[in-house]
Structure formats: C-alpha cells, structure tokens
Symmetry: C2
Subunit: 336 residues, 2 copies
Amino acid sequence: MEANDKILLAHGSGGKLAHDLITKNFVTALDNEILSRMDDAAVFEAKGRLAFTTDSYVVNPIFFPGGDIGRLAVCGTVNDLSTSGAKALYLSLAFIIEEGFAVKDLQKIVASIKATATEAGVKIITGDTKVVNRGGADKIFINTAGLGAIADGVEISGINAKPGDKVIITGTIGDHGIAVLSQREGLGFETKLKSDVAPLGNMVAEMLKVSGKIHVLRDPTRGGLASTLNEIAKQAQVSIRLDESKIPIREEVNGACEMLGLDPLYVANEGKMIVIVSPEDADKVLKAIQKNVYGKNAAVIGDVASDHAGRVSLKTALGSSRIVDMLVGEPLPRIC
Amino acid sequence: MEANDKILLAHGSGGKLAHDLITKNFVTALDNEILSRMDDAAVFEAKGRLAFTTDSYVVNPIFFPGGDIGRLAVCGTVNDLSTSGAKALYLSLAFIIEEGFAVKDLQKIVASIKATATEAGVKIITGDTKVVNRGGADKIFINTAGLGAIADGVEISGINAKPGDKVIITGTIGDHGIAVLSQREGLGFETKLKSDVAPLGNMVAEMLKVSGKIHVLRDPTRGGLASTLNEIAKQAQVSIRLDESKIPIREEVNGACEMLGLDPLYVANEGKMIVIVSPEDADKVLKAIQKNVYGKNAAVIGDVASDHAGRVSLKTALGSSRIVDMLVGEPLPRIC
C-alpha cells in the first residue's frame, strides 16, 4: 500500500485488503511475539493482581501541538493503569476509521503509538480495525484497553483518601486542553503551548519506591483537576481543600482561559497525576516526582479534611474560600 | 435522567452529567463489586494463562432481527476469547455516542449488554463514555475488550491446524450478515431470518470436555467462512478442502444471497465457530456441539491437507473443485 493511498471500506472487511493493512502496517510496526501470532485473542502468563482499564479517544484535531491521537491513546490508558499503582504491561488497540482517511496519516499515528508504547514499556498484543462510510465517523477514533500488574502491598484507590492527607499535583494544569483548543477552527489563537500528553508509569514507580503511604492516584483528564477531585471526595467521603496560590499554571494557559472564559481548574490534562499521600511522606514523594522528567513543576496544592464529606473548596489568592463543584456543561468537547 | 432525553455533549465531559449517566445508567445496570468501586482501573486476581482481545462494533442498523449492537459487542468479544479455548471472565465497555442519541435507546442497549453478559457468564468491570458532536459519529459505536482464563493443557491457535484434521462448522452460515442487510435502506427485503448472534463459551467448554485434540477454533465473522479459513490456512501453512454439499445454510440465506449477488461463504456470522480437530475426535466433538442450544446444525464440512499450503478449495455440489480465496472488496460494510 502506498503512502498516498486512502483507507477504503474494504480495509475493514475482514478480507484481503484488511489482512494486508494489518500485517504490513500494524503487525510489522508494533512487532512483538504475541501480536505476530495473528490469533483472534492474545495469550500471556499472569500472576497476582492485575489492573484493567479502557478509554476511547476522539480528540479533534488528531494532530495537535505536543502530540497526536496515537500518543494520547497510549498515554491515557497507561496513566489510568498507573492510578491503581499498576505497572502497565499490555495494550489492545482498536481503530474506527472513516473511509477516505489518508494512509500516510494512519502510518504517522501508528509510528507515534509505537514510540509512545516503547517509552511507556508496554506491548500492543491485540487489535481491531473497523472502517465506516464517509461521514459515519470523523476521521479516526482509537480505543485502547490496558492491563497492568500491581505489586504486593500496593493498595491505591479513590476510596482511600484520609483526613490529614496532602494533595499533590505533578505539574502545571490545563496544558493539554488549551493546546488542543488552540488548533480549533474559529478558536485559533497564538500560543507556543504544547499538550502535556505523557506516560506517567515511571514517575508512579519512583513514587511507590519512596513511600508505602500513597493513598490515591488519579489523572485529571476530562473535567480537569476540579472534577477529578470532586470524584475522589465523593468516593472517599472526605473534603478536599485547595490553595489557589499553590496550583502550578502556565501564563499562557491563564491567558487563554481568560480569553475563552474558561476556568483552568476544569481544563483537561493528559500528563499529570493527582497524588494523595499521608502527610509524613508528602515531602519525599514530592521530591521523587520532581526528579522525574514529567514532574519538575510538582507541588503540594491542598489537603484532605473530614468535614463536609464530598466537598472540594478553594482558598483563593485573595484569601477568601469558595466551593469548587464538578464541571457542569461541556465547554470542551472532544478534548481527548 | 428521563427516558425521552437525548445524550448531550456534556454526558461525555467528565463532569456532573457524565458522572450521573455512568452511576445511574451503567454502574447500576451492570452492577458488580469491581465496577462499583468507580476507580479508573479495575483490579482483580489472576493466575495462569490469560487471553486478551478487543473489537469495536459499528453495526448499522444498531437494532436488527435477532439482536442489537449491545448483544453483538458482548458476543463478539466473548467468542474471540473462546477461539483461544479461554473461559471469558471480564469485559471492558467503551461507548462513543453521537450527540442527540436517544437515552431510551442507550438504556435498551445497556439492558441487552447486561442480559448477554449474564448469559455468557462475564462481568463488565471497567468502562468509558465519549460523546461526539452531531455528525461526528453515526449514532453509537461500542468497543469491548475481554479477558479470559485458559485451562492447563489447552493449546489452541490458528497455527495448529494439521493435515488430516477435520473441519467442523457449528451451524448454518450467513445468518447474521443477511439479517442485518435485510434492514438496510434500499436493500430491504422480506425475510423472517434472524441474526445468529450468540455467546459460544459454553459450547466451547463442552467441546473441550470431550476432546484434548481440538487444534483450532475461530469464529467466522467479517469476511465469512471463506476468509477465516484462508487466514487459518496461511497461519498453519496447510490447505483446507471444503465439501459444498455439507455446509449448512438456510434457504432464506441462499435466496437472499442470490438476489443480492453475494456468496454466502463470505457473509458474516456472529454465533458460529469453526472447529479444526484431530480426525479420531471429530465425531465426539460434533456430538458435543450438537447438544448445545447454538450447535444443533453443526456439521463436518471438510478437512485439512498438506499440499498447496495456504489454499482453501471447495468441492462443489456438481463435483467440480474451485479455489476459494479471501474476500476481495467489501460487499458488506458495517456488518458488525
């Protein structure tokens, strides 16, 4: 198949063109011994606790500053595995492609998936390709499901946040959402901002090495920091108190949010983790994060309390306090 | 949320409406102790060999005689696990929904998923919901990934077909494809035919109980019996010889195929399995299949030979022989 070819309905047929697309473009590019057996199910050995997660990616545009839908599809699922403290091992990869999609764009996406999977230390061991008629889908959607292994003694869940715990964010907020929005037709604005999309498995492994008292890990993607903290507060039946002046945020993100009428607390991140940890370990966990390439701007941004279960509040830079609710409405469709 | 409501972009936002949709419609309906923790990754204990597979479902229309996209999304993935001899354990469930989709249709689909998962004995333990703008996707797409456990001693793969083996099909071919096509605008024709969509895990377990010499299992979905057998012939470097007079096929399917200019050998099935087994066990495996509710019309339809590696041939009802290639082109887009 030539790079200037287009994807045809027949590429999703289960017939000859589908077979050729899969063997020549996917299996060769993503080569590993499980995938190359070409059975309908991949087989591997497992022992102990496994984490399992799935996400579909419908981001628009599919190429954006700092990343693309392929890197996003690997990082999003790897990071969801990391939220359970798991080391990501295997991914599935399923494409839904619109008829007429450029093969060279598909090849770019597969190359990005390969590079990101290598960085994250995961193997893609099973997959699927569907092609829908023109207008039946917008360019390309990707689903990845992931499997990871959880070490003995690691017990991380949104239900484990405890009063007194410290809340850490591993870097600046809102970078992904604003970088994607900057590319939207009609919203185009000048910025050098890049998406933060990154796999955080190594960072999480480094945290777990220095502390056995990490209670919650959660990546604040859709809905942003505010919605994710609300979910945790409801799960654990605690309150979370943020200090606005401590939340790391880039000037460009603040500026774009003002222009667009957005609150950066609700803007998606794709390379950040919320870490809730016992207060006595907060400092060493923070230091471990800051040593990681993706954690230089990490900061303690608040703590967990027992009053007002389910509530997230923010002490503003001016010293007043306000309640920070879940996102209501949808200012940012197809951000991931 | 009321049944006459529509899905909004905000239902995919990660915010309040998304949280409500997921807790009230998905977690409650699909209730199990892992899913209801509401973490980003589901955690379970595993030991031994696991099978892992994924498929996206883009069938059009989403409700068709004998099934719907929800039943299809469970059966397709459960059956792919069965092709490795695995007992299906867990599924992930990811929706991509078009803005404006009727909530009552989503509820019908979730109820169908629940009923089919119960029938198949699998739990849905993790999920995702994305909503795209009107026109960004056609109604609803579903991805399921699945995990299953493979018992010790079970070694089933497309590479294991051996000269002398018998080829069994577990029932009539083409029912799913023709049932879906009968509902297409412009193609509408009168038929009482229903899709065969069904979970085949129990049938496979019953086969494995009576024989340790099952070499290959494969469900002939997209591309039909012919394309799937071609894949196996290429994987195992053998030839497969079919006897046309033995292939079970309904009158309605034959009639519709004649009218539409289709060859039933290339029409999709969603409740059938190809079984390749040592000749000495073929009879007892066939009997075990025929006892299953989904296997009454099972038949031995051919055998495996060593000449012409990679070739599938058919002895026609008239006694001549012809080569049966992989599907070329795509007569049936969005059949699954």
